[in-house]
Amino acid sequence: MTPEHADIVVVGAGPAGLAAAASLAGRGMHRILVVDRDDEAGGLPRFCHHPGFGWEYTHRLESGPGLVRRLLRALDPGIITIAIRTSALAVRPGPEIDIVGIECGHVRVRPRVVVLATGIRERPRSARLVPGRRPAEGILTTGQLQQMVARGVPVKGRRAVVVGTEHVAFSILLTARHAGLEIMAMVGAEDRVMSYAGAGLAARFLMGVPIHLSSKIEDIHGSERVESVTLCGPAGTRTIPCDTVIFSGDFIPDAALLPGSGIDIARVTAGPSVDQFGRTSAVGVFAAGNLLRAVETSGLAAIEGARVGTNVAAYLEGMLGWPRDAASIRVGDGLSYVVPQYWAPSAGLGGAVQALPVSLRALADIRRARLSLSEDGQAIWTGHPTKTLRHRRLALPAAALDRLRGGDIALRIDPA
């Protein structure tokens, strides 16, 4: 199927986009085109060969490529076309979408619905304003290194320093070992490991990797290739010889299609603002997956995709309209963001639609904190006091949200 004939164009064939396509087909939709600019479908998980992908969606312990294979097997090629090596260049109100693809050439089409599922990327060294020289070789993000390894591109380095301590930093420890890179150290700006404490312990004690916390890179040395980095931390300044620096984590949505599209961008997440059905502010444009915010697991991204697929079907069948009266969910002090940012009245829609799981983050670690939800000043739900960690998703049960009536909604967190 060519783009001209598509009713629904899904941009991005990662877990979110593929799950959206599957659920659309499951709801009887046809003429679904999934475009992806890469040379194969699957998104970021394609390059991660360790287990831990898709659990929430598949309830299986699978590697990234394993998850991708499962997602692809679920798609009926008679109904869904996946066009790889095909880029969406621009989205405009309509929705109208410009596409350049190896098969279709350069086209401008007006499908009935566009689903954006373009995912995330890591901030590179430059965006983190890390000082020092800029050697031509040896400065990478984990995403780039992982792709190099997965694609068999030679990784010339031998000794690496990893910047960041989010989950992905530990994922790259495994990949780096596989690529023959010795990890000289991990460096974290925060005062604790941002991933699970166990990951830090394993790195330190099982793999012998020193972890420098509350530390920053103050200098990078080397002209053609990295020769060393200088760290500044509580123990003072130290220079670590290495030929590779891997910048990990610090994810940001790949929101390149948003400017000019009529889609409101949420300031904190830098992704599109959506309501609980994944509707953006541009009529006919839905969004799902990590484009909504950095970062949740691939399993959650897939669940979002699947639910958005359901909602798109409801929209195309005339059951779901475009909201004029969605209320914004205010986040109180101490909270960073909530996705969805809006909650629309949904009385009477019943099982035809599915709300997105709520993705919520606190700004700081709090030893015991209590999350609460109110509407028009009335408490709707109050959670149990729990340990709260920034970077970790805060749970907010769907049942609490079912009680919302479209009033003034506020979320807050208080020390307990």
Partner: protein, 459 residues
């Protein structure tokens, strides 16, 4: 002897490449020798890419004259080579009464020096042109003839033109020693000796060192570093002119400008450095740039940073170009081309050719030359899938997503008579990996494509 040239140009920066192009118009055997594996890999790769008119250089100097001439020739000749010129104009903004007085005096001097295009404008006009500028600007000089250009393609286009018209290019060929014997210069390089009647030293930061090889010590280098921050293309709607502060006597200050590629650039700083090889961006430098952005165009800071870099001005102990002809020795130094060399390049080339062809050697002007055209890398430029090229599948497959570069463009760059020898050089030729992700998405594939096509290329 097969390796005897009329002229050897040492250094393939924008200056050496422009001179090579100019001399390719004469029936002369010319060689362009470069230490690094690619041209344009020295000072010329790290500048503000503003095409100056000369109105902000010291009046009455050779620099001023050559910048003005270079500007004029660039506007006339660059488009035919495929080089983008965006004449967006500049605003030099005064923020208080003292600055306003300086600005007005500057304007008078500029007019007296024969630069008539600049106009004094008031706050209304300033905010009409830059609505997002911080409040408090009092007056400005609006210079409609200043513009922005592509600093990477410029030396490449010159060199491609030169090579197409008979100049020989030798890369990875550092000159290590020079001696004059048997009426010719013998330049020693790890790739053997190059013999030439006349030498033109365009060595940039190595200018004084190369001169010293021949026994000349007319000047000393005083390198000055300038750091930059490149903001995401999403910031482009904030600014459509070159925004400058009122200059101090020795430093033109931090400017903000769009680039032809569609980003916003903030810089340069100005730091005297001891080591001419100290290509570092520093915490203080970046802080200074962020502070300048916050002061003048605070909304810029809502956007992501795409890149940081620095350049090093090949200044000398005197604030001027050091173009020193030595006709009897047949050695010409083109040194101290400090902070205007991109704008002045075609002016310098004409001036130098005038000296060399008249005073040092004889060469007939060729009747015919072959024109070259480089692909336009500017934002909004021709894309291969837009115009007919789309019947080639390689032009329909984008490999660098942030910059929208196709497999076909990478292939073409590698098939050039001056192919990029490294990934870094490929970036300058095509802009792959130059965008906001810096290789997160495309780095692995681009590397694989580069490795494959480089291997397939007949050596």
């Amino acid at each position: 002897m097969s390796d005897r040239f009329d002229i050897a140009i040492v250094g393939a920066g924008v200056v050496g490449c422009a001179i090579a192009r100019e001399l390719s118009r004469y029936a002369l055997r010319t060689v362009l020798i470069e230490a690094r594996s690619d041209l344009g890999d020295g000072v010329s790769k790290g500048n503000s890419a503003v095409l100056s008119t000369g109105a902000d250089t010291p009046f009455g100097t050779l620099e001023c004259r050559l910048v003005a001439r270079g500007h004029q020739r660039y506007l006339a000749e660059a488009p035919a080579m495929g080089l983008p010129v965006m004449p967006i104009g500049s605003l030099t903004v005064a923020w208080n009464e003292t600055e306003r007085e300086r600005l007005e005096a500057m304007h008078k001097e500029t007019v007296a020096a024969g630069f008539h295009s600049g106009q004094l404008v008031g706050a209304d006009e300033i905010y009409r042109r830059v609505p997002h500028l911080s409040p408090g600007a009092v007056s400005a000089i609006w210079e409609p003839e200043e513009g922005i250009v592509d600093p990477f393609s410029t030396p490449y286009a010159y060199a491609l033109d030169a090579v197409t018209n008979g100049v020989e290019f030798r890369s990875t060929c550092p000159v290590e020693r020079a001696e004059r014997r048997d009426g010719a210069w013998h330049l020693h390089t790890p790739k053997g000796e190059v013999v030439a009647d006349t030498v033109i030293n365009c060595g940039g930061l190595a200018g004084a060192r190369i001169d010293a090889m021949a026994g000349y010590t007319d000047f000393v280098m005083r390198p000055r570093r300038g750091q930059f921050i490149v903001f995401d293309k999403s910031a482009r709607p904030l600014l459509d002119v070159v925004l400058k502060p009122v200059p101090a006597p020795t430093y033109r200050g931090i400017l903000m400008t769009p680039t032809v590629f569609g980003n916003i650039l903030v810089g340069p700083t100005s730091e005297e450095i001891e080591d001419p090889d100290d290509w570092r961006v520093t915490r203080e430098g970046l802080d200074t740039l962020v502070a300048a952005a916050r002061k003048m165009l605070p909304r810029l800071l809502e956007h992501e940073v795409t890149a940081t870099y620095c350049g090093i001005r090949p200044g000398t102990e005197r604030p001027e170009y050091r173009i020193i002809p030595r006709p009897s020795d047949r050695w010409l130094t083109v040194g101290g081309i400090r902070s205007t060399g991109l704008s002045a390049s075609l002016g310098i080339a004409e001036h130098v050719a005038g000296i060399v062809v008249g005073e040092m050697t004889k060469g007939e002007r060729k009747l015919e030359t072959t024109a070259v055209r480089v692909p336009s890398l500017a934002a909004g430029g021709d894309r291969p899938w837009l115009n007919g090229g789309a019947d080639d599948a390689a032009y329909r497959e984008i490999i660098c997503h942030c910059e929208g570069i196709t497999v076909g463009e990478v292939r073409d760059a590698l098939a050039s008579p001056l192919p990029p020898q490294s990934l870094k050089a490929l970036k300058r030729r095509t802009r792959v990996m130059f965008g906001r992700c810096q290789g997160f998405f495309c780095g692995a594939r681009v590397q694989a494509l580069f490795d494959r096509l480089s291997k397939e290329r007949p050596q």
